[in-house]
Amino acid sequence: MLGVTLSRWTMSYFAAALAALLAGEVLMTAGYGFPSAPLRAPETLVVVHVVAIGWLSLLMCGALFQFVPVLIARPLHSNTLPLPALVLLLAGLGALLAGFLQLAGTLDPAPPLLPVAAMLLAGGFALALYDLARTLWPAQPLPLPARFVAVALFFLATTVTLGMLFSFALTTGLGSRPLLAVAGAGLPLHVVAGLGGWLTLAAIGVSYRLLAMFMLAPELEGTRSRAVFWTGTAGLALTVLGGVAALSLDAALAPALIGGSVLGVVALVLYGADIVHLYRARKRRIIELNSQMAVFAFAALAAAAALAVTLIVLGRLSEQVGALVFLIAFGWLTGLGLAKLYKIVAFLTWLECYGPALGRVATPRVQDLVVEARARTWFLLYYLAVASATVALLMAHVLAFRLAAGAMTLATLAIAAELIRARRLVDVSAEIRLPAGAQRPHLLMSVPHPSP
């Protein structure tokens, strides 16, 4: 069958992801991990992985199960595999956090849980990757947004592989000297592969399509967009793959990192130009909240790039890398994620509920499922809190950071409540909420083929 149906488990991924985001924010507010603890402390690793795997990766996987098919106009290979993948990922994340707590001395160190976590997470991501790769493979040659996603999936595999290497190095040990060298000094590569290669590339690919769709802007596939793809991919490959090669050969890491950063900045500048063009060339003059709030996420990405360059020039990157990673994770990736979730949850819910009844009875519009004026306040609070928290980190002001993290938690809670209201159709006026033929969606999953 041609066309795209609802991804069954995407809402489950979104729900788990939001719970993880809230958990991470609560931990930061409580002063758990950086900056109250050192950057490389096990407590910081707990917070970082709750956010990176629990929130960002689950969010991205859930979104890709729905939107890779949209990018290539083909159905998802399997609508079933995402469930066992989710179970493995959640179990793996739980084991990983317990493993970190063993390192921190909070939990008994035997039996070592990090290798178990590595296997579970590798299994979960492998299932997700397999499903998405099998979906993408027959669609070659891929349209540009899907090519970003394909490369992002490669870097997801790289990130997981490096993570597995660390977990074995920290517990059972590694027999090979080159592998030990990579595990010993490869942390920056793991971070770049995860935040840059996996999450940022995928977000860029999906953003090209979603922005064009929601703002009625032209699809960009031109020279500049292709240049974003090639310079971004080359920069990440140079950093991550070149870095791994350098470490395993006992060479210095700096050339790969510097070369990769230069290419990365070029890619981001070109991407910024594309985004400005998309907003300017849009046919829809008044844009919805999701497109408005995405602007702050793009601004955060630009600010992060500027901050990175500044810190490198000043030679202060290593002491301020925490603030930089925070801005990328919460300003750019989380900001864009929440803004797009606000649209996607309402749209998918509308399609699931009213799709079978369309044209037969009066149905609400997608925008009837949300109250943008109310949500806007919380988005603005969120971004304001992220900006404050970033400044607090740069100035090493722990209390200010925790207060800002508290504000982020509050804003996220409110946005999550708005998403649940949309899913529950609470804001749809009662007369048209459930006309004949419509079906009330389940909060946590979708039914791909609703019977009429």
Partner: protein, 181 residues
């Protein structure tokens, strides 16, 4: 015989990018039994011919300059031009190659509508059509979520991008045993 017409000018609504359909249907509902509707629009409102045809209205349309149209709808004896859309589409078979299908009775240009409005409009129009009738619509992208819905409702469709590479043209033939729940 003289016909009494209610005048409705939807050109300002259209120029503001609005959707006059509801306004038109309200006006039609408010007509006296012997009253007709004189509609001014910025284009030839082909979909309306079909919709009002179902309610027993004939029509006479003429271009009044500047690309604007005046259309007289009447329950009286204006001889309905036969199948208004039979002319344009059959002259230019689409990329979808619907040559063995009858000419569309409805044509839509949904290129300037934000998703999911094109899907909503197409499904609404199809519900008003008879089995075997054909609708054709222009879109600015492939209607990914519409296609499974059409199949589920038992309608046949053909689609593809026009030579400009930007306009997607879909032709839908209403199913003989259309699942009309």
């Amino acid at each position: 015989m003289t016909q009494d017409y209610l005048d409705l000018d939807v050109r300002p609504i259209l120029r503001d990018g609005g959707e006059p359909f509801e306004k038109i249907m309200e006006a039609v509902a408010a007509l006296a039994p012997d009253q007709g509707l004189r509609l001014y629009a910025t284009f030839k409102p082909i979909p309306l011919f079909q919709v009002l045809g179902r309610q027993g209205f004939g029509y006479a349309a003429r271009e009044i300059g500047g690309g604007d149209w005046e259309v007289l709808f009447s329950r009286a004896d204006i001889p309905a031009e036969t199948a208004p859309a039979a002319t344009p589409a059959s002259a230019t078979p689409s990329a979808a190659g619907a040559s063995d299908w009858p000419a569309p009775v409805q044509e839509m240009d949904n290129r300037e509508l934000e998703p999911p409005e094109p899907m909503v409009r197409i499904l609404a129009a199809i519900e008003e059509m008879r089995p075997g009738e054909v609708l054709s619509a222009l879109l600015c992208r492939e209607p990914m979520f519409l296609l499974p819905e059409l199949e589920k409702r038992g309608h046949a469709w053909r689609g593809g991008f026009e030579p400009d590479g930007e306009t997607y043209k879909i032709t839908v033939r209403v199913g003989e045993t259309g699942d009309k729940a």
